[in-house]
Symmetry: none
Subunit: 194 residues, 4 copies
DNA sequence: AATGAATGAGGATTCATTCAT
DNA sequence: GATGAATGAATCCTCATTCAT
């Protein structure tokens, strides 16, 4: 067993465990002990690496957001330069199997509430929103000109809305259907007389 | 002064206090003492009337949902029989000044997370979703025929999305603008080629 | 069992228990649980009444200092107007059986260290020192004129010195001997050529 | 670079760090990590060298007491055989700039409380007291005959009293003034009619 | 009806100490 | 020699809930 360089390993394990536990509990009322136990270590060690429960939560948020960002970036690269294709990439990237999992959706919802209390959490979500908006605008301007702005906002709201509603749904999340749904809406917006 | 008939008064005060405190804290991490203090009574009395903290939360949810329902019903009555007018009434009812207040938005968000844990809370939100869906469908079927269903879902998602995003916004909520925004979307959906 | 007006009773019990426990442990490393248990209640109740461990310690200090003040005041009243008698009263009041008990001496010593960390504790000790100084000066000025000031300081230092040394002694404190010892010193100071 | 012979260097660094940290904190509530960090090493190494926190504290006490002893011995050598000069040397040695520093005074006070709990600490302080007493007696017997004993005790108490009061003072310690103060007292005691 | 009194259960956090490398 | 890794045991404090009055 290696006894050195554990920090990144432990931290990653804790982040994963945090998301799992939040998803499982459906709330942020998760103890550090629970998280640590699932990550296979003592609560003391979790504190040793993160300093506080809040930092653990923030790391989990960062993780989810960075995964999200990576998925979208990947999809954009694959999409090439065509604006319509890029829009679809952004939307589909939001409903990837990795992102649109029950636990992640639940964590997402809980992070929204966390952001109401913890400034750092709010900042993270704001960054996410801004990046999404910017991505959407770049692709929408060539297609919708002056209506790019409202369409971008509507898309963002709808993506969040679909997420939050999924949090209450009973079956397993169907990312493909969700993405199709949002893209259908997008196409009608683009097709509407300006 | 008679001491009888205090029950509904006390309960109402507690419900109001609960929503205020949740809005203020931005989370469900609110103690019964805080709620009771704001309602001008002891925590013991709050328990006497509601039995448990969970029941207090549920009563607050019911209150918010019933206010919401009342606003929408009122708007529908005023709207008369025209389907387009009725749709607009439903949307505007969702963004009334009473509904679309910071505290209420925050409480709403938190109740979504509560619904993940507490079955009774989930049931309440499901009822709200169903009623909204049913209202939308009644008005949409004459206007959009087979596309009524997806449009209704899109509208519902967008309303929730706008709410959740408002929870992170910094300024005071602008219900009028939010309603206009959603109705613009609705009209384009209705105008799109079937 | 009375169920009302417990606060002063509980608080007094906690203060007594705190002094006992500090004396017993010989340090401030005393848990709230220990204190509460000795006072016959739960740790939660101790927190309910005092809010924090620090407040409990401060209340104990205040108690000790007020007892001390009362003893000295009582002795002064009994002493009448004669300055020499008043000086003796002050010194003897410092070594009363109530004050010069093992536990109290130990608590006293520990409060000195507490005062290095906790401003409120420092303030309390400063008040004690000032009052002692003022009492001594009033009685010394008629007897020693310009040398009143240094004699007062020497007396105060010696009283504290006797206390701190008692904290290390093995037998039971002998307040009478200690007082005689300090008064002997005082008399020689007064008798010395100015 | 040879790694041998590090032990005394490391230990000395730890002892210095301990005194600094106790002085800084004004209490014994100092963690081994703090001490080790200030000494430029890991907490594990501190344990390696001393075995336990208690041993670290004791080493620090021994260090302070040995410094104290050395100062006094040095002053005695310089004083020569004259009893009065030797007394003055003892007193001045107690208020050397090295001894009468804020941190050391604070550490001293804290070691008094430590001595209430830890027998080994008590033994160390007892040794110090006995040596001081013995030194004083040797010089006092030729000057004060039968009154040597009480004067020695009074001097010792006063030195401790001045120390403890300095722990609460606000300005920087003034060892010269303190020594003058105690010597003035001594001279009056010696001058008093037997 | 109303409340102060009271507590058990739990939770974040700290820390001395041990161990494998 | 030196340290990062790791943890068990504590400790302060909070809080929902119950009870006697």
């Amino acid at each position: 067993m290696p006894k050195v360089g554990m920090e990144p390993i432990r931290k990653a394990a804790l982040v994963r465990a945090t998301i799992t536990e939040i998803g499982r509990a459906g709330s942020l009322d998760v103890t550090v002990s629970q998280i640590a136990r699932r990550a296979g270590m003592s609560a003391a060690l979790a504190h040793h690496y993160f300093g506080s429960k809040e930092q653990i939560f923030l790391a989990a948020m960062r993780h989810i957001l960075s995964i999200y960002g990576a998925e979208v970036r990947g999809a954009l690269v694959a999409a090439g330069p065509d604006p319509r294709a890029r829009l679809e990439a952004i939307v589909r990237g939001s409903f990837t199997r990795t992102n649109f999992r029950r636990e992640v959706v639940s964590a997402w919802l809980n992070f929204y509430t966390l952001a109401q209390t913890v400034p750092a959490a709010r900042r993270l979500l704001t960054v996410y929103q801004r990046r999404l908006h910017s991505n959407l605008m770049h692709a929408l301007v060539p297609l919708a000109a002056s209506r790019a702005q409202p369409i971008a906002e509507a898309l963002a709201a709808m993506i969040d809305g679909v997420y939050i509603r999924e949090a209450l749904a009973s079956g397993a999340p169907d990312g493909m259907a969700a993405a199709d749904f949002v893209i259908g809406f997008l196409d009608r917006e683009l097709g509407a007389a300006p």
